[in-house]
């Protein structure tokens, strides 16, 4: 369709003493504080699968904990490959331009990734709300077992017939003794009032509201970043800068936006990008 020539420039944003994310060995990763051998191996394996990594945020997909990610952020640099395009492709319509990015996840999918990662899915909230109501349809069940190991004796005067009344001069002393008693109990209590009104349910509603707000904010952020990134991509596609300085600046900005999306999606976005 079109001829394109490339002039590739490697831009390394490395600082002395830092590892390069796409070049460091497992041993070098493992030498970092908070990064163990297994984590280092996972990083390298992910790098090999994706051929290259764009940022430390991509590693969130591995489930690394905060201190590990911080250690990597502080000690690892990322190298970028700048490609100078001398012959620009020609596009006839906006659809053709946007189709250029059809192999990347669309915004709806990115929003779903963000919801899943931040545990703010509507289904989750719905489940909590439903459970908070249904919970009080079930009774509070108490099972009990008592065993009386104490002996006790009771002495009474009874007449000779064994009756308890002593009305004659002849009587006898009668002893009643009990021990080794067992008692099994079951107690079920329903808080019928809580089916219609409960502090727990109010609290869940309150928390659900906060989760909805959080989700709205996260999705607004990720949507904004997604389209900032896409605008930059379109700009680079249709009018790529001619000078290297602007190219580097744009590339860094693109990687920053990608990393921001990864931070909100737990690295799922980069995982879904074509290698």
């Amino acid at each position: 369709m079109f001829l394109t020539t490339f002039l590739t420039t490697m831009v390394t944003q490395a600082v002395a003493g830092q590892l390069l994310l796409n070049q460091a060995t497992p041993a070098e990763f493992a030498a970092l504080d908070e990064v163990d051998v297994s984590e280092a191996a996972m990083i390298v394996q992910l790098r090999n699968e994706r051929k290259s990594l764009r940022s430390v945020e991509e590693l969130r997909i591995l489930g690394l904990d905060g201190p590990t990610l911080d250690a990597l952020r502080n000690n690892v640099a990322v190298e970028y490959r700048i490609t100078e395009v001398n012959t620009r492709p020609r596009y006839g319509s906006v659809d053709e331009v946007l189709a250029h990015f059809s192999n990347e996840p669309d915004v709806g999918r990115v929003q779903a990734m963000a919801m899943s990662y931040t545990k703010t899915n509507p289904e989750l909230v719905e489940g909590w709300l439903r459970a908070s109501k249904a919970a009080f349809g079930l009774p509070a069940v108490t099972l009990s077992y008592d065993k009386d190991l104490d002996d006790y004796n009771t002495w009474n005067y009874v007449d000779l017939d064994g009756n308890g009344k002593v009305e004659t001069d002849e009587f006898q002393l009668y002893n009643s003794r009990a021990d080794d008693d067992d008692s099994f109990g079951v107690r079920m209590a329903w808080r019928l009032d809580k089916i219609v009104m409960s502090s727990e349910r109010i609290r869940v509603i309150n928390e659900a509201q906060d989760i909805v707000k959080l989700r709205d904010k996260i999705l607004e952020d990720v949507t904004r970043i997604f389209f900032d990134r896409r605008r930059l991509q379109v700009e680079q596609l249709l009018s790529p800068p001619s000078d290297l300085r602007t190219q580097i600046k744009n590339e860094l900005r693109l990687q920053e936006l990608t990393a921001n999306i990864d931070a909100l999606t737990g690295g799922r976005f980069s995982a879904a990008l074509p290698n």
């Binding site: 906006v94 002893n175 109990g185 219609v196 409960s198 109010i202 989760i211 607004e220 997604f226 389209f227």
Partner: protein, 638 residues
């Protein structure tokens, strides 16, 4: 004449006959400009006439100075009279050049005027002074001119800005329709002394009336000479059938020049002393819009007042003849736009929108296709003024003083300069259809708001209502208890004669229903009371249960204490629901505007088009944020 067309707009005619191909063909022919047919309404016209409003956008035409009048000469040259009184000429190279400096321009102001032009002007002035004695005699009209030359020159000292307080004097100020000078200006009357006119009968003849008098050019506006003897003018026109005869509508009445504007005479006729604001001509007739209504001249000297059934004395500030519509005229006055289908014998409001403040009516390509420009911006009608569409995109300020149609397109002038309107690249019909189709699949805004408020966590749950609190107080804490006991016993007397033993067992069942405070829903633990005890030595046992909602802490020591907590939660929820509803509405409207503007950006670069499309997509994605993807699902039909 098809008078029924006015009574019954063309839509009904189209509905009745639209299926008949021959009739449709007739309408098509009419709409394409067959003279002598009147507009029949929205149906046939809008089907065939290409509206300028579709996909329109005004763009600056290169002159940013405030403009009070534009004109187009026979050669297609556009000239502009600025509010300062300068005349600019749009040359063939499509760049503006000042050809007549503003009144009072100084030689040491190089930007105001070029010296060569000033010298030419000076020569012209000298020539005029030589001719003044003769022309003044002829222009005095036997001494009956209501305004003397000297007085006139005093009044016209300096430029007359568009919105200055200068205005009419005399009887007109007390007119029934006029509340004052400001009101006059707001309603659209053009001030005298702001006139620029290009003759159609005499190629190259341009007349300009401004603050310092009347100027004349015979070379298409390249050079100018000042002429004298004319009162502040509102309008000029060619006398039909008499090339070189120019008629001027002035504040003092009608004046006529037999020598192409060099000298002026007052003719003894009904308009000799009536302010005349505008003219319209066809091949045989000349109409004059005046302070006392509409007049028509069917000969070169006589004028007759047209007396419609109503508003006969209403001032007519603007009159325009529709070239595609025999006997069709557009009038504008204090009450807005009127249309007449019989050459002014009768008139009526054009539509529901009176467009008060109209300064210019500009018939366009077909019968009933007209442009109105004035205080409220530019409007277009395809159906003889029944319906109007605004042409506002790109105009920074709605007030428009003048409008013409040139080879460049439609040009308008106002306080922000000159703007040009070109037709959209794509066919406007396609744009209109596309725009309407673009919204077809969209869910209604109310549905979107409802979807946003229906999300889990956004509903006002019944638990937050006070009825539920009462109901909870009426329902018991129900306890069922079952117990099975087994015990062993031994009885004996001290002589061991009656010793005996055995075991007993049995069920004990009970039920308890407790109402009232025993059924309280107390159970908050939002505050870490254990840490309070450890850190501050608080006696936990004596501490009531607490609840934290937002920034407030509630003591929950009884069933009734739930009420304020629930109310607070409900309040917070209601506030957020309101915010979300507002946001969804804004996003929906914003997206619709962006979709509607698709046609506008088609003339822009692919990069700009892509950026616009991304904005539309971003708006949809943001709506999806608040509707859990409902918007996109509906758009995609899933």
């Amino acid at each position: 004449m098809h008078k029924q067309g006015l009574e019954n707009p063309g839509r009904s005619i189209t509905a009745r006959w639209g299926a008949v191909a021959a009739v449709v063909g007739l309408f098509s022919l009419t709409a394409q400009g067959q003279p002598g047919q009147m507009p029949t309404g929205a149906g046939p016209s809008s089907d065939t006439v290409v509206p300028w409003a579709a996909g329109h956008r005004w763009t600056r035409a290169g002159l940013d100075e405030g403009v009070s009048r534009l004109t187009v000469s026979t050669s297609g040259t556009v000239l502009a009279l600025t509010e300062r009184g300068a005349v600019w000429r749009l040359g063939g190279e499509q760049s503006w050049r000042m050809v007549l400096g503003p009144p009072g321009a100084r030689l040491d102001d190089p930007e105001a005027i070029d010296e060569e032009q000033l010298l030419l002007d000076a020569e012209s002035l000298l020539d005029e002074r030589v001719d003044f004695s003769t022309s003044g005699t002829s222009s005095s009209g036997g001494g009956e001119s209501s305004t003397g030359d000297e007085d006139s020159e005093d009044e016209r000292d300096g430029p007359v800005p568009l919105e200055s307080g200068d205005g009419l004097q005399g009887e007109g100020a007390d007119d029934l329709f006029v509340q004052g000078e400001d009101d006059l200006d707001r309603r659209g009357r053009v001030r005298p002394g702001e006139t620029l006119w290009a003759a159609m009968a005499v190629p190259g003849l341009i007349l300009c009336d401004r603050g310092d008098g009347t100027w004349r050019s015979v070379d298409d506006g390249l050079t100018w000479e000042q002429v004298d003897g004319l009162d502040p003018a509102h309008a000029f026109t060619d006398q039909p059938g008499s090339p070189g005869v120019v008629v001027a509508g002035t504040e003092a009445g009608l004046r006529t020049s037999l020598d192409g504007g060099m000298s002026w005479i007052q003719v003894q006729d009904p308009l000799g002393e009536v302010p005349v604001y505008s003219f319209a001509t066809d091949t045989k007739r000349l109409w004059a819009g005046t302070e006392e209504g509409l007049f028509v001249s069917t000969s070169q000297v006589g004028w007759a007042k047209l007396v419609p059934r109503r508003d006969a004395d209403m001032p007519v500030w603007t009159v325009a003849a529709d070239p595609y519509w025999e006997n069709g005229l557009w009038l504008a006055g204090p009450v807005g736009i009127l249309r007449t289908d019989d050459g002014g014998q009768t008139s009526r409001p054009a539509g529901r929108n009176p467009l008060v403040g109209t300064r210019v009516t500009l018939p366009l390509d077909a019968p009933g296709h007209v442009l109105s420009a004035g205080r409220d911006g530019v409007w277009e009608s395809l159906d003889g003024g029944i319906q109007w569409r605004p042409l506002a995109r790109g105009l920074p300020y709605p007030r428009v003083a003048t409008a013409v149609r040139g080879t460049q397109g439609i040009l308008v002038g106002g306080s922000d300069g000159v703007f040009v309107l070109r037709r959209a690249v794509l066919t406007p019909e396609a744009d209109l259809v596309g725009a309407s189709r673009a919204h077809e699949k969209e869910p209604p805004m109310g549905e979107l708001v409802e979807a946003a408020l229906r999300r889990p966590g956004m509903r006002i749950d019944s638990v937050l209502t006070h009825q539920n609190l009462i109901a909870s107080m009426m329902l018991p804490k129900l306890t069922l208890t079952g117990r099975w006991d087994r015990y062993r016993y031994i009885t004996a007397d001290h002589e061991a004669k009656t010793n005996k033993g055995g075991r007993h067992h049995g069920w004990f069942v009970g039920a308890t229903a407790c109402f009232g405070n025993c059924a309280s829903s107390v159970g908050f633990s939002d505050v870490d009371v254990a840490s309070l005890a450890e850190d501050y030595g608080v006696d936990i046992q004596s501490l009531p249960e607490l609840a934290v909602v937002g920034d407030e802490v509630y003591v929950a020591d009884s069933a009734g204490s739930l009420a304020p907590v629930a109310a607070n939660v409900a309040e917070r929820l209601t506030q957020y629901r309101s915010e979300v509803a507002s946001r969804v509405s804004e996003l929906t409207l914003s997206r619709r505007r962006l979709v509607d503007a698709r046609a506008d950006v088609r003339a822009l670069s692919l990069k700009d088009q892509a950026a616009h499309e991304l904005r539309i997509m971003e708006s949809a994605a943001r709506i999806d944020v608040y509707t859990n993807g409902y918007f996109t699902r509906v758009l995609e039909g899933s």
